[in-house]
Symmetry: C2
Subunit: 181 residues, 2 copies
DNA sequence: GTCTATATTCCGATAGAC
DNA sequence: GTCTATCGGAATATAGAC
C-alpha cells in the first residue's frame, strides 16, 4: 500500500531481530529513511503499534508457509521448518519469538497477546505435523507430539540466539541433530 | 564484603532475569535500596560494570555446582543440571544466558566476552558429561556429544523463555523430555 | 569512603505546519 | 495526508558534598 509505511515495518522487523524491541528507537528507522523520527508516529502512533504490526506480519508469513507446504511429505515439511531461518545466520539475527520472549514482561499488552498467538500457531502446526508424521511411520520419537514440538521449537529458537554468542557451528549442528527423528 | 554492593548485584541479577539488561535502570535498583540512583555509580561506575559482575557471579556459581556434583552419577548430574532453574518458573525468570543472548549485539564488549566465557564453560561441562556418560553406557544418543549438548542446553534455555509467554506446562514438559536420553 | 545534586543525552509522543 | 518543531520525562553518568 504505502511505501514509507512498509519500509518502516521492514526496518523495525530487522532491528527487532538484530538488537531487540527495547533497544531500537524511532530515530534508528527515521535516519535510514531520511525523515524525522516523529514522522514514524504518523504511521504508528506508539511504538507498540509498530511492534504489533511486525508480529502480525510474521504470523501471516507463517500461515502462508503452512499453506504452501501442506502438500509436501512430512519429513520435507519438517525440513522446511528447520531451515526457514537459514538466511539469518550470516546476519546474526534471531527469530521474532526468540527476540521478544525474554523481555516478554516489558512488552505492552497488545504485543504480548499477538506474540502468544504466533507461538501457539507455530506449536500447534508443529505438534500436528509430528503427530501425523509419526502415525505415518515417517518419524520416530518416544515423547508426546506436543513435548517433541516444544523441544524442537525451543532448540531451534535458541540455536539462533547461541549463534549470536558463539558464531561457530552451533546452529547447523543443532539443526542437523533435530532432523534425525 | 559490602552489604549495599552485594544487594545491588542481587537486584541487578533479578532484574536481568525478569525484564532484561536493556530494560532495567539504576533507578529500579536505587528505589528498592532507598538511595539515589547515582549512588550505584560509586560501586559500579558504568552499567556494564554491573552487568559483568552479574555474569561473573553466575560463572562462579556454575563452577561451584560442577565441583559439588562431580562425584555424583552421570544421570544424577544431568538431572541436577536440568532442574537447577526450577525455582525460576513461578517467578517467570529466564537464565542469564537466555536473557542476554538475544540482545548480544547491544552489549558492551566486556559483557560480551564474559558471556561467551560462561556459555563455553556450560557447554564444555555438558559435552563432557554426555560423552563420558555414554561411554559408561548410561546415556543413549546418536548425535555427537557436542551436538547433543547444544540441543539440550538450547531446549532448556528456551523452555524458560517460552514459560514467560505460555505460562503452562511447556517447561516441565521439555525438561521431562530431555531427561530421557 | 559513601552518597547526592546536577548535567547531558536520548527516548517516545504531541501539536501543529505544509 | 504527510511530515517537522518541540515537549516532558527518563536514562546514564559526572562532579562534588559530607
Amino acid at each position: 500500500m504505502n511505501d514509507t509505511r512498509s519500509e518502516i515495518v521492514r526496518l523495525a522487523s530487522e532491528l527487532i531481530r538484530s538488537i531487540g524491541y527495547n533497544a531500537f528507537s524511532y530515530t534508528d528507522i527515521s535516519q535510514k529513511l531520511h525523515i524525522k523520527n516523529a514522522a514514524i508516529h504518523y504511521y504508528f502512533p506508539s511504538k507498540s503499534d509498530l511492534g504489533v504490526e511486525v508480529i502480525k506480519q510474521n504470523l501471516e508469513a507463517f500461515n502462508n508457509n503452512m499453506e504452501a507446504w501442506k502438500n509436501l511429505g512430512y519429513r520435507e515439511q519438517l525440513n522446511k521448518y528447520l531451515t526457514m531461518h537459514d538466511s539469518f545466520i550470516k546476519k546474526n539475527w534471531v527469530c521474532i519469538v526468540g527476540s521478544l520472549a525474554p523481555s516478554y514482561d516489558t512488552l505492552p499488552e497488545n504485543m504480548q497477546k499477538e506474540l502468544q498467538h504466533l507461538v501457539n500457531t507455530i506449536l500447534g502446526w508443529l505438534t500436528d505435523l509430528l503427530e501425523t508424521g509419526r502415525q505415518a511411520k515417517e518419524f520416530t520419537f518416544t515423547e508426546s507430539p506436543r513435548t517433541k514440538a516444544f523441544i524442537i521449537h525451543s532448540a531451534l529458537l535458541s540455536a539462533l540466539q547461541m549463534n549470536k554468542v558463539l558464531r561457530d557451528d552451533v546452529y547447523k549442528s543443532i539443526q542437523q541433530g533435530l532432523m534425525n527423528i
